[in-house]
């Protein structure tokens, strides 16, 4: 069994109004030192055997993320 983590983040050139709303809330809570917030998604996959990086990258780029607007980061680890 392997555990694979996929982080999905908006591309830098795509604006993130949800992240901006979080940033606004942080300012109201007194955390004035936070300059920017970008919101993303975090997927944890458990797969049989050793992870097949090519297959997992395909899963990440064809379903978990929309490559038109999002980038993916793949983190593989074997228990």
């Amino acid at each position: 069994m392997s555990r694979v983590v996929v982080d999905v983040v908006l591309k830098p050139e795509i604006s993130d109004p949800q992240g901006q709303a979080v940033l606004g809330a942080l300012g109201r809570l007194g955390h004035s030192g936070v300059r920017s917030v970008r919101q993303g998604k975090h997927f944890v996959l458990e797969v049989d055997g050793d992870p097949d990086e090519a297959e997992l990258r395909q899963i990440a780029e064809t379903l978990l993320a929309n490559p038109v607007i999002e980038d993916v980061e793949l983190h593989l680890s074997t228990d």
């Binding site: 591309k11 109004p17 978990l64 607007i69």
Partner: protein, 223 residues
Amino acid sequence: MRIGVLTFPGSLDDVDAARAIRLAGGEPVPLWHGDHDLKDVDAVVLPGGFSYGDYLRAGAIAARSPLMRDVVAAAGGGLPVLGICNGFQVLCEAGLLPGALTRNSHLHFRNRDQGLLVERADTAWTSAYTTGQTIVVPVKNGEGRYVAAPADLDRIEGEGRVVVRYTGGNPNGSSRDIAGVTSADGRVVGLMPHPEHAVEALTGPSTDGLGFFTSVLSAMVTS
């Protein structure tokens, strides 16, 4: 003329879309996302709603459903496809249309009558209009902000892919006021506003939306 209306779990506006097709003079044909059967329809409408609860991304899971794979293949052969609201999100997720739809810039759900400027009156779904015409149809979305990388937006505009643009105010922060786009061959069209809600004076702000459905019927007669 048989026009399929594809229902996903969570579709809301399939009945209104079928009604608009009937009012335009076509025969609506119910299609189910889990089937592998396009029932020999001459065109397909993907209706509004919240397919699969908008889980993952709006339209993402619906775009990979069994019947959508058939729709993508048929669109490659010239089948006219119209995606309205959630249907537009599905078409972008399926790769049939460029760009993507994301959370409205102001984060609110927006529901109002909306002016649209028609820029392409030569697609399978907009031939009933004239270029430069302004129409009014309802818009209602929470994730309707059309986005793409700036270079992609330049390409989309440069290729004349913008079918309708918001006028009289942008309801969701869409890039360059883009409300709807088309495929390179003008057979696939997607837009966030709802023409199927503007087909009768009793219930709509106008009957301006009917033209999308009469357009495809006349496109089928001439082709």
